[in-house]
């Protein structure tokens, strides 16, 4: 029996090989079940709603994925989004003529500064990522209060063009969805077709060996945090536009969702494993669950619990798979 056969004879390993199809299957089952109970679920407009809802999640989850691939984590994404949203909204309030495109660039600039700080202390200061970003999570959130003095920016204080930035449509599809799709294509290209991307996988896969082959590990860790900051900056502007407000608790706890989408989509917390299509499906699954729970009128408190449960489930499945994998490889090699 050759290794290929050996691997395919074990159901767990089959799931591992085709992680994406596994998620698709779960999604289909879920869609079927919910649409039986609620006919308005399976409609084009609801589907558009779901896509609109997960677009920002996709942008940030992909950034989070790049970080996780290097064996790190960025817990400060929610705070970075909130801070950018607040700063950009203040500008929009003061200068209603400010062009939406300029707002996006401004947001990305703000985000890059925040990400740069994360990158500096983690890559060059060698602070463990979980501690460093837990720290900046609080710092950036605190800065939102300092910056805004605790006030909100509401819909009526924003220009129409800014509000249309996210929700305006082309061919019936919201801009936001196009942007998320664009980001996905960019990240896919970066991860699969650039040296930076391949080095990201290499570092997560074997950090010591990365040093032996001369991969500039620190620069790359720095780069993923910088990219995460830029993505959060973009997401912050889109968030303000989409929800037509900026509040002190904007995107509070959003890091949980980004990690959930990545991990459910097959990104390994121990680094080196994960794909863009997987993360897209992970985000889609989360979006559908959230939407479905609302449709069949389940309390939003349950939504959080279910999200947590999904993360645990994904990690448990991952562990089982890697254990099986190691066992069959060992048996094969001996």
């Amino acid at each position: 029996m050759d290794l290929q056969q050996r691997l395919s004879s074990n159901p767990l390993l089959v799931i591992a090989r085709i992680r994406e199809t596994g998620i698709i299957l779960v999604i289909l089952l879920l869609v079927l079940a919910v649409s039986l109970r609620s006919p308005s679920f399976l409609t084009l407009s609801n589907f558009r709603d779901i896509l609109l809802n997960i677009s920002i999640l996709i942008i940030v989850a992909l950034a989070q994925t790049m970080v996780i691939l290097t064996k790190s984590i960025d817990l400060s994404v929610g705070s970075m989004i909130g801070l950018t949203a607040m700063m950009v909204s203040f500008i929009i309030k003061q200068y209603p003529e400010f062009s939406p495109l300029a707002a996006i660039l401004l947001g990305m600039a703000v985000g890059s500064v925040l990400g740069l700080f994360n990158g500096l202390i983690i890559a060059y200061g060698e602070v463990p990522p979980i501690i460093a970003t837990l720290g900046t999570l609080s710092i950036y959130r605190g800065m939102i209060f300092l910056y805004s003095g605790g006030t909100w920016i509401n819909a009526f204080e924003m220009s129409k063009s800014f509000k249309l930035l996210a929700k305006g449509t082309i061919l019936g599809v919201p801009h936001l969805v196009y942007i998320a799709f664009g980001v996905a294509v960019l990240v896919y290209f970066l991860l699969n077709h650039t040296r930076l991307g391949r080095n990201i996988y290499a570092i997560g896969s074997n950090p010591d060996a990365a040093q032996f082959v001369g991969i500039p590990k620190k620069h790359i860790i720095f780069a993923v945090y910088l990219l995460s900051g830029i993505a959060c900056g973009l997401a912050g502007v889109l968030w303000a536009s989409r929800f037509e407000s900026a509040q002190t608790n904007t995107a509070l706890g959003f890091e949980l969702q980004t990690v959930a989408a990545s991990v459910v989509g097959g990104v390994s917390i121990s680094g080196g494993v994960g794909t863009v299509p997987g993360v897209l499906l992970g985000a889609l699954l989360l979006g559908i669950i959230q939407n479905a729970l609302t449709m069949i009128r389940i309390s939003p408190f349950w939504q959080l619990a279910i999200q947590g449960l999904l993360i645990l489930l994904a990690v448990v499945v991952d562990n089982l798979i890697s254990r099986e994998m190691q066992r069959s490889v060992r048996q094969w090699n001996r």
Partner: protein
């Protein structure tokens, strides 16, 4: 000074204030194989990492082509034509074979895109030219150790290095693979590549090396042409004292049968394994890598219980389904892979030594630290562990000293049956002799020892009896007097030869 391609002059390196290299010099001519020899902890690996720019020297000069150079990372040394195969596995388990060869320097197309076509094309032709057969799309984690080694070699060759450094490249290869590797090395040497070669198998040095440099405890000892030295002289240079006899197995009158195995089978792994092990006896388990020896040991120790077959201890049939049970029955198993199975590397030496016995030092849940420390100290002394202190972390020790700690840990459980899997693999001559002496003493005290080893001199020198395995079956049982290197090889490879002649 035009004679030398590459020179290290009076290199000194300190880690956290501790000097690990003291004014070490080393030079390399084009087209020579220069062996670097020394016990573990002598500073070979550090010296190599200085050559490749992974570490930077604190003092001294590196001279390449007559010009002084400084490498601040491995990439810079690669660009200068220096490639290395490290002792530690340095593949990327989640990347495929082809990418592992080019990782860190992916060829690019115009516009900065990774040129995947070129990666697969060049990997293919490289492997073909090296005579290796591997599926380029297989992930490194799915490869066997020998296959992983092949990929590392291919990676080093792909750089087109003028200087190739090989740190124990043969430790996990079979005899055939070693022969193939040596062919490659000779070919490169004849083309003008300078090769730095490290191995603990002295026979290999005599076979392949032109010159040899010996290090001891971080000091340069001597550089000599290989044809002017003898094996004994090299060992003396390395150890700094004469190693009286490499294999001091005492004659012991074996006692009662303590372990008996009957018809042990696991499908596709090993079949119908039966043998007896007596009190005071060392039973050698010989065979090629992959013959199923480790699997049998793991089965007996309850890690992967066998599908069928019976195990008797002191004549009573037992069912062992977990290592915990095995320990309770008086068994101990020292695995081959110290790093992953033998040690808790981030913990200090005390905890590592007393790990299986913490219960002995705790009173109502409180740990009697003084007793624990004293016990660890006495074990470490007994094993002659070389460390700065007992509070040093296990991962900071050299391979030989790690092996001593693993042994200390298991001996502390006072087992009656000891299974040793490649007890001296990758450790230096001095430690090796110490381990052999210890084994002999333990057997003399009545311990029954099952020793798996791929080194024939070790098998022949240490065993009272020898079992040879091939492809999961026992092919021969030999007494100490009748066993020879040729016989063992014959039984270990028999079927392969038959297949070739058929």
């Amino acid at each position: 000074m035009g004679e030398y391609l590459f020179e290290l002059r009076e290199i000194t390196k300190r880690f956290a204030g501790v000097e690990v290299l003291h004014k070490v010099s080393f030079n390399l001519r084009p087209g020579e194989v220069h062996a670097l020899l020394g016990e573990n902890g002598a500073g070979k690996s550090t010296l190599i990492k200085i050559m490749t720019g992974v570490y930077q020297p604190d003092e001294g000069a590196i001279i390449l082509d007559g010009r002084e150079v400084r490498f601040s990372n491995a990439r810079e040394s690669q660009l200068a034509g220096i490639a290395a195969i490290y002792q530690e596995p340095s593949l990327f388990p989640d990347l495929d074979v082809a990418e592992n060869i080019f990782v860190g320097r992916h060829p690019l197309k115009a516009g900065g895109r990774v040129d995947w076509h070129r990666i697969y094309r060049e990997a293919e032709s490289l492997l073909t030219s090296l005579g290796m057969q591997l599926n380029l799309k297989r992930k490194a984690r799915d490869l066997s150790i020998a296959e992983q080694q092949m990929v590392e070699i291919a990676r080093a060759f792909s750089i087109n290095a003028r200087i190739l450094i090989m740190d124990e490249p043969t430790s996990s290869l079979t005899l055939n693979e070693v022969a193939e590797l040596f062919c490659l090395v000779r070919r490169l040497r004849d083309e003008g590549t300078a090769v730095v070669f490290i191995s603990h198998r002295l026979e290999e040095l005599f076979e392949i090396a032109d010159r040899v440099t010996v290090l001891r405890d971080g000091y340069f000892v001597d550089t000599k042409p290989v044809k002017d030295v003898t094996r004994e002289e090299l060992i003396r240079l390395m150890v700094g004292r004469k190693v009286s006899s490499m294999f001091p197995k005492q004659e012991v009158q074996p006692g009662n049968v303590v372990l008996k195995v009957e018809g042990l089978t696991r499908d596709g792994v090993f079949k119908d394994i039966s043998f007896e092990l007596r009190k005071g006896e060392i039973l050698g388990l010989a065979g090629l890598v992959g013959a199923g020896r480790t699997e049998v040991a793991r089965a007996i120790f309850g890690i992967d219980p066998p599908a069928s077959g019976r195990i008797f201890i002191d004549g009573k049939e037992v069912r062992i389904t977990s290592p915990r049970q095995a320990i309770a029955l008086g068994l101990a198993y020292v695995p081959e892979d110290r790093q992953t199975h033998g040690l808790v590397t981030p913990m200090n030496l005390i905890s590592n030594i007393t790990l299986p016995l913490v219960g002995r030092f705790s009173h109502f849940g409180w740990l009697d630290q003084r007793a624990e420390i004293n016990f660890a100290l006495s074990m470490a002394r007994q094993m002659e562990v070389r460390a700065h202190s007992l509070w040093q972390r296990a991962r900071e020790l050299s391979g030989g000293n790690q092996q001593k700690i693993v042994l200390a840990k298991w001996l502390a459980t006072r087992p009656r049956i000891l299974i040793l899997d490649e007890p001296t693999r990758g450790i230096d001559v001095g430690t090796k002799a110490a381990v052999h002496e210890l084994m002999s003493r333990l057997a003399g005290e009545g311990m029954a020892i099952l020793m798996i080893s791929s080194e024939l001199p070790e098998i022949l020198g240490m065993s009272d009896r020898i079992i040879v395995m091939r492809e999961g079956r026992i092919t021969a049982q030999l007494g100490r007097e009748e066993a020879t290197q040729e016989k063992i090889l014959h039984y270990a490879t028999q079927s392969l030869e038959e297949e070739v002649t058929r």
